[in-house]
Each structure stands twice: as structure tokens, then as C-alpha cells.
Symmetry: C2
Subunit: 313 residues, 2 copies
């Protein structure tokens, strides 16, 4: 008698293909990563065409194993992408996503749809649904009831119930910060040195937003505090960052729910965790990028993973 | 017996000198406008130097009447201006402003200070204090208790009690709109045509903000509505404008107070009046630009207006 050996041969190419970057993973028959690649070939940078970019980043893998299937999530499935994978209305489960894949023309590549929250004030996500699916695959205890936060240019707060994305809200926090830093008086009058006490400035911004009823009357304080000597110019952008992240948290946390779980880039997740602590959520756990796990989960449910005959004694 | 004739000879040059433009008024001995001029010579565009720009715009008037005094308000008195006129803390009355004028070097020109609201979250104004002084001069009934709104790049809401600016709040509404329109995904994905029903889109944005608790979870709807066909791309920026102005009003009106009075450019004031109506403030009266009236009021109080001997029979 022998236990089955895990299958370590390539079984799936998984692509996280967003607006500004393309990440590719070669996964084995257990969903573990064998190799990965990254190119600055987001959907805004594919002058050569989607098929050419796909062929280039997968050349070595498909050259060795031409039958390998591929799956992709992100803006590649948008109207501006390779082929449109229409939004699935929520509530939506990983299995629902798996049932709505759209194949790219001429390739063994399937694209995950985004998710739409209908209504008077609709909302959309594309790529994050796959991250959520990955988080649920890695942490099955989240399926019953979870609040998953994906900080970034457009932060998403997703509520998960019974293994499905029940509802979600987008906050343009990262983009708002970038446009105010790069194009407003707040950025022009901030200093660019190393800062005196950037963490304290960040938390001061968080606290100001926590005690307010919206960002509108707060934003200009990032200018007035510099003018009146209340903050060092070099710390002003951290204060602004705190205002914006604090306002996102204040707004999102007015709705009761489970303790937030963070997914994403460690430095940003750490900032969010620090801010969450000011709202009473200490030690918010950050889960690293879950795109590959989500792509694997959906591909398995869709039955597109390459199966190999394994020797069983 | 004869009644004294109003003095129609030049008595004061009044300058509204802001970041991006310079307006000059020649006022008679009753504060009425004789002539005016406007140049795109805000404090960011004075390569020739402040004195040269001042001499140019006043040349004809001071050439005829070299003894004519001048007064200026706005960013010309900031640290980046000609000479710094330090902020006066509020509460501040027009007489307080008159008592704190700062003379420009080498010219018979006095500069009005800005006003500072001290505290943990300070706020500043420079130029608007003079507009408020003008509103009080033109509408003395406002002195007892008024809420004066100056819409713009940085909207100011000033509370007037007993003839003084008691407190105020700055909203970066206009600048926020401009940076989101010009540099964010909201502007990039909006249409640029004539629009289908721009007024309705504006009021839809106002109503969304009125019923929410801050702009954070609303901003992205200006994108999602376009994506899902809920709004015409050409109307999306009006919806965004409604969101931002609506959020300013929601925030400002949480504090009880007198019915808001608007000062400023007619088209923008009309938009604010339309939005105010959705909050139950119908028919908000808009007062046109009051800078000249405010400069006159402060100059008289400071005793710098040129007096002429008038013939009395």
C-alpha cells in the first residue's frame, strides 16, 4: 500500500492581468506554484496585442507542454480587455464564477468574469472576486461570514456569507491620494524630505477622520496645518493618507460585521492594520496576495485543470 | 441751502489680488466704481515683480492722481505674495481687519490680512474675509447672524455673529472636482459631448450625497454608473459635481444656523442654489462679487481713503 504522490508536473497557467501589470504563475497539479513571471504589460500596455503578450509570457511553459490550459482574471476581461467576460451579479460564489468563464479567441485561455452589485448606486469589481475566492480557499473558516478588505487604488470591501460575495463597496482611496498628491495644492505645499514623524502624522489623520462625518471639511487641514506650523511639511502627505484611509474605515465600519481581514501588498496592509487598530480592531491579519490561489480554485471548479494519469500502486 | 453733492472724484484704488488673477477698481469718494481692470497677473504670474505689476495696472489712475491710496486683499498678502500680512485670529470684524493692514514697500498700498481659525484642525482664509466684509456692508442685516457661502476652488462657509467672522470651514470642492476630472479614471471614462440631461445628473449626485454619510463610498459610482449604463458618459461629470457639492452641503448643514447666503460667480452660485433647494433651502439669494465693497469698507475704517475738500454753500 502506498499513499498517492502529489502531482508536481505543470497543470495550469494562471494569469493576474490588470490595468498596469501582468503576473503569470505556473501551477502544479496541487495548485502549488512552480514558477512565476511578471511583466509591465497591463491592458493599457499591450501595443503588440493581447495574444502576442500572452504567447510571450507563457512561451517557455507552453513550449514544454503545449496542452497546458490557462486562466486569467482582472481587467483583461473588461470591455477594454482581450475579450469581455460580462459581470456576474452578486451574490456570487467561486463556483458561480467558474460557471461563467469566457474563452479567449484562439487560445486555451479562460477569463474570469467580474462581479456587479446592481442597484441605484451600482458597484463593480474585476480581479478582486478572484482574490476573495483565493482567500476562501486558503481560509475556509472565512466562508461563513467575513469582511475582506483589499486596499489599493480602488479599495474593495467585500462581505462574504455562505461562501459567496454577498455585497461590496469600492473606495477610491488610493487614486484620491495620488491625484491630490500629484495635482493639488496639498501635494504642492507638502515637503519632500524624509519626514519628522510620519507614522504619528498618519495616525493623526486617521484619528481626525475617525471623529468626523466625512472627508469634506478635513481635506484642507492638510494645507492649513502646514501653514500654521501644526505639522511639518514633510509629514503632510502622511497626514493626508491618514485622513483618506481613516475616512474609508470610518465609512465602511458604520456597517456592523466581522473583523476586517486584509488582503494585499504588505506595506499598505500594514498601514491599514495600524489604522484599523484605532477603530478597535487590533491585530488585523493580512493575507498576502491570493490571486494564484483564487485562479486555481476557479479553474478546478470549472474543470479546466490539466489532469495527468498518476501512478497508483 | 444746498445738500452736499456726492464726491465723484477718485478716492481709492482697490485690488483683489489672488492666486491666478488680479482685478483692480477705481472707486470714488462714495465707494462707487468709476473704472475697473482685470489682468491674468495672479501671484503665481508676476515674473516682472509685484511692484511692476502694481504700477502697470494702476498707471492711468495714479498718473492722473499721484496721491491716490490703494488697498489690496487676497494671496498678495500671503507668504508667497508681495508682503506678508499675518493672519488675524477669528472672531474678526471688518474693523479688526482695518486695524491690521500691512503696507507694501515703496507704495501707498495697504494689504488686508487673512483670517485664521486656530485649533487642532486650523483653517485659514485670505481674500474671502474681504468678500464677507463687503457682504456685510451691502447687507447690514446680515451682521447679527448669517451663514455666508463662497463657492469655488476652495469653498468657504463663514459664520457671522455680531458683525464678526466667528468661525469658518474650507471645503476643497472645486479643486477636488478639477483633479478628479483631469487626472482620475472618473474623468478619463466620462464623455465629453453636450450631455443628455446634465441638470438631472447633477441633482442625482446631490441627492446621493445628501442621503449618505460622506463621499468615500460614493465616488466610484460615477464610474460604475457609466459602466452599467445607469448614466450617460456625457453626464458623468455633472453627477460627480453633484456628489461633491452635495457632500459639501450635507457636511456644512449638519451644524444648525441661518439660511445660507451665497457670494460669487453667478453660474456656480446658481448650481449651489439648486443643490441647496434639495436640502430645503429654497431660493438661496446669491450676492454678486463683493470684493470692491469689502475693500472700500475696510479702507474707510482704516482711514486711508483720500478725502477731498468739497464745496459747501
Amino acid at each position: 500500500m502506498s499513499t498517492p504522490q502529489p502531482d508536481k508536473s505543470p497543470a495550469l497557467v494562471a494569469l493576474d492581468w490588470g490595468t498596469s501589470s501582468l503576473r503569470a504563475y505556473l501551477l502544479d497539479g496541487s495548485g502549488r506554484m512552480i514558477e512565476s513571471a511578471r511583466e509591465p504589460k497591463g491592458i493599457m500596455q499591450v501595443e503588440a496585442g493581447f495574444a502576442t503578450v500572452f504567447d510571450e509570457i507563457t512561451r517557455a511553459w507552453l513550449g514544454r507542454d503545449p496542452g497546458l490550459p490557462a486562466i486569467a482574471a482582472g481587467m483583461v476581461g473588461s470591455a477594454q480587455g482581450w475579450v469581455e467576460a460580462p459581470y456576474l451579479p452578486c451574490p456570487a460564489s467561486p463556483d458561480d464564477l467558474a460557471g461563467a468563464l469566457v474563452q479567449a479567441p484562439g487560445r486555451r485561455l479562460w477569463i474570469v468574469p467580474g462581479v456587479l452589485q446592481p442597484g441605484d448606486r451600482p458597484d463593480v469589481m474585476r480581479g478582486e472576486e478572484t482574490q476573495v475566492a483565493g482567500a476562501l480557499a486558503l481560509g475556509p473558516e472565512l466562508a461563513a461570514d467575513a469582511r475582506i478588505v483589499l486596499p489599493g487604488t480602488h479599495s474593495k470591501w467585500a462581505r462574504v456569507c455562505n461562501g459567496r460575495i454577498e455585497s461590496f463597496t469600492t473606495y477610491m482611496t488610493g487614486e484620491l491620494f495620488a491625484v491630490l498628491r500629484d495635482h493639488s495644492i496639498l501635494g504642492r505645499t507638502a515637503g519632500s524630505g524624509p519626514g519628522r514623524d510620519r507614522d504619528a502624522a498618519f495616525l493623526r489623520g486617521v484619528d481626525a477622520a475617525r471623529g468626523a462625518d466625512g472627508i469634506a471639511p478635513l481635506l484642507f487641514s492638510a494645507r492649513a496645518l502646514v501653514l500654521t506650523g501644526g505639522i511639518a511639511p514633510e509629514d503632510a502627505l502622511d497626514y493626508l493618507s491618514g485622513l483618506l484611509i481613516g475616512d474609508e474605515l470610518r465609512s465602511a465600519l458604520t456597517e456592523p460585521g466581522a473583523a476586517p481581514r486584509l488582503i494585499g501588498e504588505p506595506a499598505l496592509a500594514a498601514r491599514y492594520a495600524g489604522a484599523l487598530a484605532r477603530f478597535g480592531f487590533d491585530g488585523a491579519e493580512a493575507i498576502p496576495d491570493t490571486a494564484a490561489a483564487g485562479l486555481w480554485r476557479i479553474a478546478v471548479a470549472a474543470g479546466i485543470v490539466k489532469t495527468t494519469k498518476t501512478e497508483v500502486a
